[in-house]
Amino acid sequence: MGGTTYKTTDVVDFVIVGSGAAGGVLAKELSTNGFRVVMLEQGPRLNAGDFKHDEYWAFQRNSLTNNWKDQPNTFRKTAQDKAEKQPAVWYGRVVGGGSVHFTSNYWRFHEIDFKEVSMKGGVPGTGVVDWPISYADLEPYYTKAEWELGVSGLAGSSPFDPPRSKPYPLPPMPLKSSGVLMERAAKKLGWHAFPAPLAIISQNYNNRPACMHCGFCEAFGCEYGAKSSTLATTIPIAEATGRCEIRSDSYVSQVEVNAQGRVTGVVYFDKNKKEQRQKAKAVVVCANGAETPRLLLMSKSQKFPDGLANSNGLVGKYLMFDSGAMSGGVFEHPLNDFKSVHVNRVIHDFYEIDPKHGVYGGGGLDGRFDMYPVGFANGGFGADMPRWGSEFKKNLKWFPRMMYVLSHNTVFPVESNTISLDDNVKDAWGLPVIRVTYKNHPETDKTIAFMQARELELLDAAGALQKWQMPAWDSFSVHLLGTCRMGNDPKQSVINADHRTHDVPNLFLCDGSSLVTSGRNQPTETIQALAFRAGDRITALAKRGEV
């Protein structure tokens, strides 16, 4: 583990705020390119041996994620409502960030996701716009992410896949019962089920051992290091350069600027809640789609009275939630879906829903293990099914015979959906908390409803004895997208295609906040491809002396 340490008075080349899917990649890219890097992470450093199979540890104690006791959120549907204190965002808060606990679905965006408006005309009342880059621009970096991190899958197995320059580095994970049922159902319906691309290694790869099928992927860390988190992949490489220090338990409260309007470093709280500063020639914020805009909004100064990089007022706007909808079904025989990886087969037939259905967006379906024993008992049933008592207890025996189908859908960006500061509520460090203002656009709801009907159709065709819809959620999100979006027009976006903020030349942002559209809401591969690309762009700028 990294022995490199810098003094806080050292002026390093880059401070990276956040060590997750994007920060972990950028730390490796920038340090291997010769730069001196300090990466600050709010959360602790846990290693593979620290990870547990314990729902209370993961969900109640929030051992890998933000904890609302210390860092409350407030939520309101619209700016006219009063924001109430309630959990609204959930993100990885350990070294490796969300890449440690994500389910590991690893979907590329398709061409349509970058060019919604020019290809399909956009949707009135939403803020959907084209990206300043295309799928073709990002393709080499999708490939790079898959090969550097380790992704299992079968190229060409989905007729809807965008073109790719290289197959996956690893074969797909072994077939599960859920995969068999998904394939059977898809065949009946004329759909196409294909092996799920997963950032989990099916064979030994880059000195990491293959998945042992323990069954604790989603919301947990992998004790074998087989999940291709940045903790298991890029962060050790960054540390091995001798140029990168990972500083955990470091909670950044401000990005500092000088009179020229350039950033000079960051202020942060260390483990003992003592304020520290780290000087840097440039800052890259990769703190996720909620914490990145929050940090910019907290970084007020005389020069930037409305927050950093916010001259157009767009920081925090166009928030896109994950728009999950899920259905469950119980089958005749045990699937034992709690064994091995959580997703085995994916269906992309509705990635672009036929306009004849009157629905603009699209989605993907996956058959999945989504709920561990407590989660299943607590929330695995339909709204009108028994929640306690003897009938409830009897239904708990369905556990091994369950399959859930989750749809991941288009969420349209809307300007009034935002991350902002709630000055009325302070966190345990005395900082204003995240206030979420969010309401799905009606087109988003239509897409979800359409996809949820497909979930039931699929469960039926798979032979479910009984099936039910779970209530959709719209006041809580794990994917946090779009809040500092990328664009060529400084009036319409926060960063340019190099991830440089329009307002501050030596401030870069790269994470879910950079996304212009939600794709079909499986964002991690795109965030990581952007991070690899940003590594190249920022390196080129720095080497030319343009940072």
């Binding site: 072994p174 019962s177 042992m212 025989h333 045990p334 034992n336 407590v374 008992a377 003897s390 207890k393």
Partner: protein
């Protein structure tokens, strides 16, 4: 299962076959759980709940995940010890909510104790309160104490996991379930 046979069933589970001890005959409730029931630190008593509170709360847990002829319930799994443990170590702020719930149920049960009522009467009372935040909390605790990680004192001997059909050995090998095993077998036959 009627009250009498249920009592026998429980007694057998708790004390071993053949014993006929009446569960409620002990003055110290935790001591009555003696054989199953030290808390996580090996102490034979509760640390947040009083013995009386534990007895009332466990009666609630027993309605949420009852002990019946389907198999053991929250009681045998030691859910009450999970609850006492987390109320002490992780969620002391929730003690007040649990006490409020118990007070509400006690009021409806008076002049008897909630734990003294018939199952039917207990269900009637809980139905009245099932939409409250406090009931949700106790329900969630009961579930954690039944099928959560055993390290907090509940889910004794993986009792809840065995009941629902979950295993947690840390690794598995294919085939994983009925349908993939069936397909593998069919493919193999075809190959022969």
């Amino acid at each position: 299962m009627d009250q009498h046979s249920r009592r026998i069933f429980l007694t057998r589970l708790v004390t071993g076959a053949g014993a006929t001890l009446a569960l409620n005959a002990f003055p110290d409730y935790a001591a009555a759980h003696d054989h199953v029931a030290k808390n996580k630190n090996g102490e034979p008593r509760f640390t947040s709940l009083s013995a009386e509170e534990a007895k009332e709360l466990e009666a609630v847990c027993d309605r949420i995940i009852p002990s019946d002829d389907e198999g053991p319930g929250a009681k045998e799994a030691g859910a009450i010890f999970f609850i006492d443990y987390v109320l002490t170590h992780y969620e002391p702020e929730s003690q007040a909510k649990v006490r409020k719930a118990l007070a509400d149920y006690a009021k409806d049960a008076a002049p008897k104790l909630f734990s003294e009522l018939t199952a039917e009467k207990q269900i009637e009372i809980l139905k009245k309160h099932e939409k409250t935040e406090e009931f949700d909390l106790i329900r969630s605790y009961t579930i954690f104490g039944f099928v959560g990680d055993p390290s907090y004192g509940g889910n004794r001997d993986d009792m809840g996991w065995k009941y629902i059909g979950f295993e947690n050995p840390g690794m598995f090998f294919p085939p994983f379930g009925y349908y993939d095993a069936e397909l593998l077998k069919a493919n193999k036959k075809e190959g022969e």
